[in-house]
């Protein structure tokens, strides 16, 4: 960075500072542009990956037989799956946020495979199973950690991607400093066509930039949080206030005279507990015990839509043995646990996903437009500099400043 300092000559301190800011702005993301572009693009696709699957695969759509059709309860869904494949073991049922999606029921099959079964939420009809290629998971893995395996803690890809939050944040701040009186851009938006590519992309870069201030800020900060999260995880530093994980006591799981599993609490009963303990909760996820000492877990979103609330029901006696509400979280946890939903925008429904998708596209285009401006300008500037070098050695500041001030 110190290489920039010579520009700040005592003769013109203000102009020098502007030039410095401008240089920092161009350095922050430019050398990384191809990686930044890739991550922004894959992230943009990831925001709507579920919807892309919806468009591509009719089995994940929820078709209501009639306008007044009633949604099935969890026990009815369980029964429907058990009827269709009696040997499979249901592990969880999830109800997507949006009513236009089928229920996704996770099962373990006798051949050792596991899969998701798409179940019509109104009729219980089995509409299909998830394909072996999980598009949504793939896009997430590509965007989030470059498909690298997690062998020992967080991988290099995770760190590399999340650290991009830093140049993004620097780009935003320096961009706003360099773009003098940027708020005027809100009042008098300018996007000039027909003045050549350089002018158009310059206008676009500034216009998209100022309208994306909150979005870029959110993505950069939440992105950097993922770095912090990885560091904490890899150093085994816990900020959790949860305490010991809930496990069913040995004496609660009875031995049976016939040597077969006892009946357990019904899922609807467990879900009813959820609304009792967590009023306003929309149960979106129910998981069945993963072994004899595991709870039935009901989870969903409550009044604060970003976070999940959940409760653990003892499968043998129906007692609620653990509740994790929004109110149980520390202020720090509220903040840190809000980071991921803020990054993905998946907590409010389709409209927010589309907003994220749109701004994601803008951000992706800003990487490209920044690059285009740089290539065009640098070619100019270098030519100009070479010319000037022959005439007077001191005149480069003014030109750069106007570039930045546009």
């Amino acid at each position: 960075m110190s290489a920039a300092v010579p520009a700040a000559r005592p003769a013109a301190p203000k102009a020098g500072r502007a030039r410095l800011w401008f240089l920092v702005h161009s350095w922050a993301a430019l050398p990384l542009w191809i990686f930044m572009f890739f991550v922004c693009l894959t992230g943009t696709i990831a925001t709507v990956s579920q919807e892309i699957v919806w468009l591509a695969d009719p089995a994940v759509r929820a078709r209501a037989p009639s306008a007044d059709a009633r949604l099935l309860g969890y026990d009815e869904v369980l029964a429907a799956v058990n009827r269709a494949s009696p040997e499979s073991v249901v592990q969880s049922i999830s109800r997507p946020v949006k009513s236009q999606f089928a229920l996704s029921v996770r099962v373990g099959n006798p051949d050792g495979t596991s899969q998701s079964i798409y179940v019509n939420p109104y009729t219980g009809e089995i509409q299909g199973t998830d394909p072996s290629f999980n598009f949504r998971g793939f896009v997430r893995a590509l965007h989030g950690w470059l498909l690298m395996p997690f062998t020992n803690g967080f991988n290099l890809g995770w760190y590399a991607v999340s650290l991009l939050g830093l140049p993004m944040l620097v780009s935003l701040i320096t961009g706003l400093v360099v773009y003098k009186k940027f708020w005027r851009g809100f009042l008098r938006p300018r996007l000039r066509f027909g003045h050549g590519a350089r002018v158009f992309w310059g206008d676009f870069h500034r216009l998209a930039g100022i309208w994306s201030i909150p979005f870029i800020l959110i993505i950069a900060i939440t992105g950097l949080w993922f770095t912090v999260q990885a560091v904490l995880g890899d150093l085994s530093i816990s900020i959790s206030s949860e305490g010991a994980p809930p496990i069913v006591a040995r004496e609660d799981a009875p031995y049976t005279p016939d040597g077969l599993p006892p009946r357990i609490v019904s899922l609807d009963e467990a879900a009813a507990h959820a609304s009792e303990y967590l009023p306003g909760l929309q149960p979106m996820f129910v998981s069945l015990p993963g072994n004899a000492y595991d709870h039935i877990v009901v989870a969903g979103r409550g009044a604060y839509p970003l976070l999940f609330e959940r409760l653990h029901v003892n499968p043998y006696n129906g007692k609620v043995e653990y509740v994790r509400r929004v109110a149980d979280r520390s202020a720090l946890e509220l903040f840190t646990e809000s980071m991921r939903p803020l990054h993905t925008g998946d907590f409010a429904g389709l409209w927010l996903k589309l907003v994220y998708f749109f701004f994601g596209l803008l951000l992706t285009m800003m990487v490209l437009s920044g690059l285009l401006i740089w290539t065009k300008r640098t070619a100019h500037a270098t030519a100009a500099m070479l010319r000037r070098r022959e005439e007077e050695p001191d005149g480069s500041v003014a030109e750069l400043e106007t570039e930045g001030a546009r």
Binding site: P31, F35, V107, T113, L146
Partner: protein
């Protein structure tokens, strides 16, 4: 793709560190291609279409029951935070005992009793897994003990040499200087 295609005049304006940064960032974009096969292998392993694990050990009799047992990944033990190192194993209960077995546990060394039977398996009767802590003091002749607890209260056990269950773990232990 490369700044190198630009004319030499512009090249002069781009410092070496920036060009290196660019190259490194371009490598990150290409890297996923390199990891693609491993990614799909993991997906298939998670889905169970590649069998119980990367290395299946076949049927092991545990009292009147039996399990199919597998090393989840043929990899060295992984770092499990504060809990030290761990290795994942999977098992499938026999068709006839799937409903009779209440819980399956795994431990390095013979357990003193059911309460100390070790780490519990999690999953369906057809495929359940455990991340077994591998303590530093484990020796190459150590045995893995499988404990099955029945819904009728019966407890059955079987042992298999760690060297058989995971040769790579033995290799790893000897590299760490543990007595063999």
């Amino acid at each position: 793709m490369s700044t190198a295609r630009s004319p030499s005049t512009r090249r002069a304006g781009v410092p070496a560190w920036k060009r290196w940064l660019f190259r490194v960032s371009a490598v990150f974009v290409v890297l996923p291609l390199f990891y693609l096969p491993a990614y799909f292998h993991s997906q298939e392993l998670n889905r169970g279409t590649k069998g119980l694990g990367e290395r299946e050990l076949g049927e092991i009799a545990v009292g009147p029951w039996s399990v199919r047992f597998a090393e989840w990944r043929v990899e060295q033990p992984f770092r499990n935070g504060e809990a030290g190192y761990a290795k994942s194993f999977t098992l499938a209960l026999c068709d006839t005992c799937a409903k009779q077995v209440k819980a399956a546990y795994l431990r390095v060394g013979k357990p003193r009793n059911l309460r100390a039977a070790g780490s519990i398996f999690f999953g369906s009767p057809y495929r359940q897994s455990v991340a077994l802590p591998i303590p530093e003091r484990v020796t190459a002749d150590a045995e893995l003990w499988i404990t099955l607890e029945g819904w009728d209260g019966s407890v059955h056990q079987a042992a298999l040499p760690l060297a058989e269950a995971s040769p790579i773990t033995i290799e790893w232990l000897s590299k760490r200087g543990n007595p063999t």
